[in-house]
Symmetry: C2
Subunit: 318 residues, 2 copies
């Protein structure tokens, strides 16, 4: 099997809006069209000789699956959240693999692409389990809440004036169960799609067996753990913004080209990065560098080529 | 990475009833309980030092997903059959991986287990596309048939007096798209779950890109192609029967312990093996041996240990 140098290895985290854009229903046709466009940057990395692991979000897709399971609950078995996450890893991995193989073939590039189902270990005593914060799935009417809480054991909260939704914990990823296999696939020369939706969260029982967890792992944090596991020097977080901004949402908005982990942590404490959007990406970037990574790039998927030439994007360094 | 001899490599195809039993709704609890029981034989093979690829059926699970997509079609996007197959590969692979890892851990066995999403190439000019024969998904009322045919382009037929169902082609598998990756994972020491539901059928466009196909590949035939691809000398087909029977369903039923491919083909021509059940398994067994495989075992998952000792099962040899 061909083995290449690890010098240009990177983990690329595709944001949810690289696949389903805000306001779209998330039809299969829309998702394929968006992927065709947003995987251009990934092709650019491969053209530069990178070995790649590709991770991705799954919000709209798992949201739709939760709707299907709920609407059809009298006619087909209910599925727990971990199993829905596994289903969606398969479906999205297939779509990404097929689109990327097609784009590479058109360019005469011989890379292979595959998707590995990925379980991510979390600590059963993670404090996140006492304070669920991640809204998932469809909205419910207020009069349904009591019955759902009782019958399913769900925590249901009001979501910013939009209605009532299930809320689940977002525990921290501590290990990638298939890390050895992801490395083996990378070493064999394949582009590896894995860790979709942040991975399927599992914790260990007292006797050490893996058990599915009803929660959602932040996909950028999971990507950082994967990047450390495969000894990738670079983590690339693709999102809706070309650069990270200081004073976001004010008249003093200032784009950042480069910052150290210490600077990033300081800005974060000062409240520059919103908790629901850039905050977790900065967290993941810092966590990766603190764990031994060389640098993290945060940019828009369509600016990736420019960013690699040093013309844009935000680089976070030790 | 550890590399072991290929002498004891096998591909094991788990029948659908190893996961959801006839008459069950296919709840997640039932599926986990059945897997816990039916993976015993797989553990027995690993204890004997086998390197394993594990394939599996998906009938009840993809049937339930088709019901969900249909029932919720006004609230969540419709999914094509290839994408549903990918979803279910992910979900079932996760379940099998988790249960098998748990069983191995209890025994103190250190095998790793993973699931690779698998695309299987079929020929776009396969005659099966002109004659769809495989019933899939929910039953419809006769008055819905015309509208569904027109709007979705489906072929819908009456299924043995039980109602109207969609019918799709069952083209022959010709190549495993991720064959190189399955081999790399096996070589790295992992048990590889792949080819679920016969794999996601794809064909090549004129320019050579992969396109999803609305069809179902026979899972035993796909398993034979996977076994040839990874140069496994053995194919193990697990089903509801301990042995293959001659004169099936008559007073002269006779179990077979061993037969050559020539004998098997002759019996098949004489009509001993029903088209909907044992027929495709015999086909797969023969196809594997004709392609260079050493032997195929057909037996019940719970008799696998006994069969490996030579006490039961049906062996098909060159």
């Amino acid at each position: 099997m061909p083995r290449r140098s690890h010098g240009k290895r990177a983990v690329v985290a595709l944001g949810g809006n690289a696949i389903t854009r805000p306001g779209e229903a998330g039809t299969v046709e829309q998702d394929y069209a968006n992927l065709d466009h947003s995987l251009e940057g990934v092709v650019a990395l491969l053209e530069r000789g990178y070995e790649l692991v590709l991770t991705h979000g799954n919000g709209p897709q798992i949201g739709n699956q939760m709707i299907r399971v709920e609407v059809a609950r009298d006619e087909a078995p209910i599925l727990p959240l971990d199993l829905m996450g596994a289903d969606i890893q398969g479906g999205m991995g297939y779509m990404i693999e097929k689109v990327l193989r097609g784009k590479l073939r058109k360019k005469g590039m011989a890379h292979r692409v595959c998707c590995l189902i990925t379980l991510v270990e979390v600590d059963a005593s993670d404090p996140a389990f006492d304070n669920p914060t991640k809204f998932v799935g469809p909205f419910y009417r207020e009069e349904e809440v009591e019955k759902l809480s009782r019958e399913r054991g769900w925590v249901i909260k009001e979501d910013s004036g939009r209605g009532w939704r299930r809320v689940v914990p977002s525990p921290k990823p501590i290990a990638i169960i298939e890390q050895h296999e992801i490395t083996a696939l990378l070493d064999s020369g394949a582009v590896v799609i894995c860790g979709g939706g942040g991975g399927i969260p599992v914790s260990r029982s007292r006797s050490g067996e893996l058990e599915g967890v009803e929660g959602v792992i932040d996909k950028d944090l999971a990507s950082a753990i994967i990047a450390l596991g495969v000894r990738s020097p670079e983590l690339v977080v693709l999102t809706g913004a070309e650069k990270v901004l200081l004073n976001f949402g004010t008249l003093e908005e200032t784009p950042i080209s480069i910052m150290s982990v210490l600077e990033a942590r300081k800005y974060q404490e000062e409240g520059h990065f919103p908790a629901g959007s850039m905050g977790p990406k900065i967290d993941a970037a810092c966590r990766f560098i603190e764990g031994g990574g060389s640098r993290t790039l945060i940019t828009d998927p369509f600016k990736l080529g420019d960013a690699l030439e040093g013309h844009t994007g935000t680089w976070i360094t030790p």
